[in-house]
């Protein structure tokens, strides 16, 4: 039986996709400021942040209404709970793009440091993770969600790699320490974007399969549950 409710859920998915696309552009622009030293890319990031913040509130309101009015159960309930959490993850990863652009603005006033092709590589991976985690969420694609989880390891490895390079660099080029620290932060923000995409992928697996894999929860079932007494 076709449900009117399904149309409303589809509309919610479309809104989340739009928000994700917006966040992706923000990451691209923020990294463009770092890599290409393009000052024109700065203000669109702030403008889009405003829009993303509005979207977050609208999506929360939509979810609240759908829960209150339809009293969803089972897969619908898991989806709506997942949508609320994904919404928050998207807003926070968009904030990371703002953090990047803030550091990038600072970097614009200093001489460019050379060997940091790792940053664009991290950005490409992080954007791909964001895009695919959202695709996996709206299409209930757990294979894609699990693939995103795997990519996070590469992002973590690159962040460690750039930290080593920058630390070495700072030992010899002390005048460049402020720039190097900014870049270190930027790599950290990109890595966190990957963490948010990872969270969205974990949410997707819960929505589709009903299994909570966060913090390896599926392997720790037998451990004591802190709130068990209250249940």
């Amino acid at each position: 039986m076709e449900r009117h409710f399904d149309e409303q859920l589809q509309e919610l998915k479309n809104h989340l996709m739009k928000m994700s696309a917006m966040a992706e552009i923000m990451i691209a622009d923020a990294v463009k400021t770092v890599v290409e030293r393009d000052a024109d890319a700065v203000s669109p990031v702030y403008e889009r942040e405003e829009i993303v913040n509005q979207m977050e509130m609208e999506i929360d309101e939509t979810c609240l209404k759908l829960i209150a009015l339809h009293q969803p159960t089972a897969c619908d309930l898991r989806f709506l709970m997942g949508a609320v959490k994904t919404n928050a993850e998207l807003e926070r990863l968009a904030d990371e793009a703002v953090n990047i652009v803030q550091k990038a603005s600072h970097l614009l006033g200093m001489p460019q440091l050379k060997p940091f092709e790792i940053i664009p590589e991290m950005a490409t991976i992080a954007r791909g993770m964001v895009r695919d985690s959202l695709r996996a969420f709206v299409n209930r694609n757990v294979t894609l969600a699990r693939d995103v989880l795997k990519r996070d390891d590469r992002l973590d490895a690159l962040k460690s790699q750039i930290a080593i390079i920058l630390t070495d660099f700072m030992k010899t080029e002390t005048a460049s320490i402020p720039s190097a620290i900014d870049l270190l932060f930027i790599s950290r923000y990109l890595e966190r974007i990957g963490d948010h995409a990872t969270n969205i992928s974990e949410i997707t697996i819960f929505v589709v399969e009903g299994i909570d894999i966060r913090h390896h929860a599926d392997e720790k079932r037998s451990l004591q549950r802190p709130f068990a007494a209250a249940e």
């Binding site: 039986m1 449900r3 409710f5 009293q71 159960t73 089972a74 897969c75 309930l77 898991r78």
Partner: protein
Amino acid sequence: MTTDTVISVSDLDLFYGAFHALKGVTVNVKKQQITALIGPSGCGKSTLLRTLNRMNDLIPGVKVTGSILLDGKNIYAAGNDVCALRKRVGMVFQRPNPFPLSIYDNVAFGLRVAGMTNRQQIESIVERSMKSAWLWDQLKGKLNEPALSLPLDQQQRLCVARLLAVEPDVILMDEPCSALDPIATARIEELMLELKKAYTIMIVTHNMQQAARISDFSGYMLLGEMIEFDQTARIFTTPQDTRTQDYISGRYG
């Protein structure tokens, strides 16, 4: 069968003549828990409920195979006292059905049928039963008034009090709130949650939110089969069978 199981239904088949109404149903009803049966009309949930105190015996052409154990004893065994069974496993129906007697006589009815004559004893049990059904404070001054003059939810709770008087172990409820408004429904639901401290309750309901709110275990039935039986929280969040999911999320049909 574990020690906290009161009723254990195994491989139960029931035929109304040629119609196969229950197909291989297996389910354990836990002590002092509320178990809800949900499913579309005609799925067999009321039939299953009615087998638990042999109400279906009253319908001609009924054939039952499989076993239903109440505290380990087969209730369909030859020579079983059906009246004694119905005293232990009482039923509340969809429409409140008090007898056309006074409030007091309704609650005392089962005791008198069972041969109790001691007036003081009867009075004390009537009071206790009416207190348990949250009727005593409102009705203690009008015990001689006709039961049928009460509002529907008080009539329904009077039926519960009438049942409690004979000290059952299990209370079966067949859509007990379908004739009641939301406030009266809430009162019955609260009463059920209170009663489960002492009794085992099984309820058939078309109101899925009601099953979700009050039951500990839920069974989804379809075309005479028990499709899925599990803890209610699990049925309503992560059902294992897509047929259960389609039904509780309103996709069925």
